[in-house]
Symmetry: C2
Subunit: 249 residues, 2 copies
């Protein structure tokens, strides 16, 4: 079952007819991370995004209480969500239709799924599954009440193709842009590539170099620290698929 357009995919999701992950679906369309916070916390988070643009490239910010971005209903057009209350993860529901408070401000942030297709066209194979994701020992720039570690996604790239991978991804700031680190995982505090914090390590061909990009999972580690009355995000890998092609962004 392959959707022919982002609108069709989002409709299937809203009707509960899509299994969830969006990696490898609808090549070339912008995918987005979701983060929703009370208006009182929106300045801190927007400042955090401004100071950490590679982790949190802002695509859109809604007006308080408005769950729509154009015709997209953010409450039900992602396949799965996570809900925190006062810093505790309380639920991972398939929609937020019953909970979108009047002060809810939604942020759409870029996602690295966005550059998988351009990488493949440049002769760099990328697994269709979600990439391996690691929590590093580097800290993001803090902002107000928000601080936390840099999270990265890793894709193995043949040594001869690493420069090309940099060139291609640098073109897509809404896909997290150029890598933040190339090579030695230990320098990021990653002891064992085989044990990612999220996702699964893809096969590493002999001579492949691990290439690390800033990852949109970063806010999910940072936002609960606010201990805000509520924080909503998408569930990892279950992104919003937007109508814009990456080259339009």
């Amino acid at each position: 079952m392959n959707p022919t357009s982002p609108a069709q995919l989002r409709q299937w999701i809203a009707q509960g007819q899509w299994p969830g992950p969006t990696s490898g679906v609808l090549d070339d369309y912008q995918q987005a991370n979701l983060a929703v916070v009370p208006a009182d916390y929106a300045y801190d988070f927007l400042l955090f995004c401004t100071r950490n643009p590679k982790s949190c490239p802002v695509i859109a910010v809604t007006e308080p209480g408005n769950p729509f971005v154009g015709g997209i209903d953010l409450r039900c057009m992602l396949a799965r969500y996570r809900v925190w209350e006062y810093g505790e993860l309380v639920e991972e529901p398939c929609d937020l239709l019953q909970r979108w408070p009047g002060d809810a401000v939604a942020f759409l942030l870029g996602c690295s799924h966005t550059f998988d297709a351009p990488l493949r066209r440049a002769g760099i194979p990328v697994a269709a599954t979600a990439p391996a994701v690691y929590v590093t020992d580097r800290l993001c720039e803090p902002a107000g009440r928000l601080s936390g570690p840099l999270v990265v996604s890793m894709r193995p790239v043949a040594a001869a193709k690493v420069a090309r991978a940099v060139e291609v991804t640098a073109r897509y700031p809404t896909g997290h842009g150029a890598p933040v680190h190339i090579g030695d995982p230990a320098q990021l505090g990653i002891a064992d590539l085989a044990k990612p914090d999220f996702g699964v390590l893809p096969p590493m061909a002999p001579g492949a170099v691990p290439v690390f990009w800033a990852c949109g999972v970063t806010p999910q580690l940072v936002l609960p620290k606010l201990k805000a009355p509520y924080v909503f995000t998408h569930y990892a890998g279950h992104m919003l698929v937007m109508d814009e092609r990456v080259d339009e962004m």
Copy 2:
């Protein structure tokens, strides 16, 4: 009198020993626009910057009440300022030492002076004086209480060099990045290039193409509409010169 470093220039400015404009001074160092608003208005302005990144590329945002960015005292290390109260321009002082309220949040935004030196090195002559600046009939993306027209700076470029000018400036998002418009001024609502709203039209060689970049004057047209108790900005052309070279940004 030519300063040998940004620190020396800022010291001269703080001591009242520098005439004012910073165009053509200390090539290759990042220059910045200043905008200061009460904390209650900071979210709207940060969102405005996020939605209009070419006009308002954010370099730094201070904590409320703190007038320092590293060792730079924002109250006296720019040569001249503008002060609005409830939307009215009330003063254009040489320092803000007596007025930096406890809730003042300062934004440093990129400035196109920053790419003049790289343009010259690419064989594209740029006048040492401040560029001609025009208020266009295009609107910025609004944010909360903030809206207003796109303001542009114009530099004439030989037709054979226009593509190079795009390539060079695209590398410097903190210098407003690639042009927003190339050619016909009428399409921006500019009736007569010889009558800029700010600055002076530089000589146009025969066959030169007018190339337009988003301009950091934009906030000065937008912020007074807030009618906030106070808004401070730099005085046009009298920028903060930072310690970072543009290629480090």
